[in-house]
């Protein structure tokens, strides 16, 4: 080694610079989720977990059990003891801002996170 900068250094530095630049732009497009599922029973948070971590959660409301499943970044009520089952029929929800509710049992499932990136409303 003569003590100077080698061409290997140059390649490495340029490569890293490109990676860094890429990561700044990549963050805008790649949704690293970062979303959290929050389950509330009667306005109290009873459960909180990462949306990417598969879980089965059961909470007990006034009408009985509400079974919630978190699966591959989505959440749904898979079973509910309530008169009309609107929550079960809601199906899977996945985006920050999405909500699944069981009104009779007063169970509210919210997806939060990445709010700073999007000013977003969901219709339909």
């Amino acid at each position: 080694m003569r003590g100077g900068i080698t061409w290997g250094d140059g390649v490495l530095a340029v490569g890293l610079a490109l990676c860094t630049l890429g990561s700044f732009f990549g963050m805008q497009y790649f949704n690293l989720s970062g979303s959290t599922v929050i389950v509330e029973l009667k306005d109290l948070v009873v459960y909180k977990s990462d949306l990417t971590e598969n879980r089965k959660i059961t909470v007990r409301g006034d009408y009985g059990d509400v079974r919630i499943q978190v699966n591959e970044g989505r959440v749904a009520v898979v079973h509910a003891d309530c008169p009309n089952k609107v929550c079960v029929r809601t199906g899977w929800r996945s985006l920050a801002g999405d909500v699944v509710i069981c009104v009779p049992n007063r169970v509210l499932i919210r997806i939060v996170g990445e709010q700073t990136k999007h000013i977003r409303g969901i219709t339909g």
Binding site: N84, V99, L108, Q115, K117, I119, T123
Partner: protein, 339 residues
């Protein structure tokens, strides 16, 4: 450990704040048989003030629910229904103006929107655990109890001419409540906010207007794929609402029966799958999405085109494939994302 986690939080919020100056404060709850979400995006608003204002928006929504619900016999609407065919009812200016707005929609659409549809809605009862198709004779009966021309409004007195007639503000009350909640925030100096009652959105962004602005991303749910999105568009201050056959429905003998009933036939309107309306406020968006859905593809699109400041997306299904049409003002502004 504790201070360390604090630093992580600070670090993360630092990186996100440096990107743009949005500081959302949000609260979700349930009202009007669906979810309600109120979010403010004002950077200069303290957390305490933001939540206080959000709470007053919620209080307003709850107040409106108590006035408009037909589940309660003592609400203003409940009282009108209870005394249908018997007596006039003195109601608040608020109810009068909402009824007049409804009747005006009815007149403009030759009854495609009808606030007196309550008896039909009750016969179908989409909120029951096992909804079923009402018998033909039942439908014939409730059809006779439907007709906006039999809703008499004089001053602050309201009278339904037939016994058994019922008002149902389901096609307009949520939009109205969204507007009222936005108004509360606006009056208290909030400059940026989104109010959402079951997918009826009120976007308030000072200095912006409708589809000409691009501050808020609006995702439209996929009518046939659970948890997916059909597409997105961007808006400024506006009301956005969607009526779809996938929102409340059941299958009977392989046929989809959904909650958007044609007041003329007493059966679900069949022409389209969903209608999304972007209007100047949520009341118009809410009512027009139902109205256009019932009118169907062609008449519905013409109705949208005839109205200043109203844009829409109509989705229909042909041989299992979804097609959509945009109103002229939305051309190039809606990105479909399901293909």
């Amino acid at each position: 450990m504790k201070p360390f986690l604090l630093w992580v939080t600070i670090a993360v919020s630092f990186t996100s704040c440096s990107r743009d100056e949005i500081r959302p404060h949000s609260r979700q709850s349930t009202a009007m048989e669906t979810y309600v979400s109120v979010t403010t995006y004002d950077g200069n608003l303290s957390q305490h003030d933001a939540y206080a204002l959000i709470d007053s928006a919620f209080a307003e929504i709850n107040r409106i629910e108590h006035v408009m619900t037909d589940y309660s016999e003592s609400s203003e609407i409940g009282t009108i229904n209870r005394l249908a065919g018997k007596d006039t009812v003195e109601v608040s200016d608020e109810v009068v103006s909402l009824l007049q707005a409804s009747l005006s929609f009815s007149q403009q659409s030759a009854g495609a929107f009808d606030v007196s549809i309550g008896a039909i809605v009750k016969a179908w009862d989409f909120l029951s655990s096992e909804p079923e198709v009402p018998s033909r004779s039942k439908i014939r009966m409730v059809l006779r109890l439907t007709g906006f021309k039999n809703v008499m409004v004089e001053g602050t007195k309201v009278f339904l001419t037939e016994k058994g007639m019922r008002l149902d503000l389901g096609g307009i009350a949520k939009g109205y409540a969204v507007d009222r909640a936005v108004e509360i925030l606006k009056r208290n100096g909030v400059q940026h906010a989104i109010v959402d009652i079951g997918g009826n959105l009120g976007v308030w962004w000072e200095g912006t207007r409708g589809v000409d602005s691009t501050v808020a991303e609006i995702l439209v749910r996929h009518p046939r794929k659970d948890g997916k999105y059909f597409g997105s568009l961007k808006v400024g201050t506006a009301g956005v609402s969607t009526s779809g056959d996938y929102q409340r429905y059941f299958f009977h003998d392989g046929v989809r029966y959904h909650h958007i009933i044609d007041p003329a036939t007493g059966y679900p309107a069949r022409d389209v799958v969903s209608v999304t309306i972007i209007a100047s406020d949520a009341l118009n968006a809410d009512a027009l999405s139902t109205l256009v859905f019932v009118l169907g593809r062609e008449k519905g699109m013409n109705f949208i085109k005839d109205r200043e400041g109203v844009e829409g997306i109509i989705v229909w299904e042909k041989e299992g494939v979804l097609h959509h049409e945009l109103s002229p003002g939305l051309q190039g502004k809606f990105t479909r994302s399901d293909d």
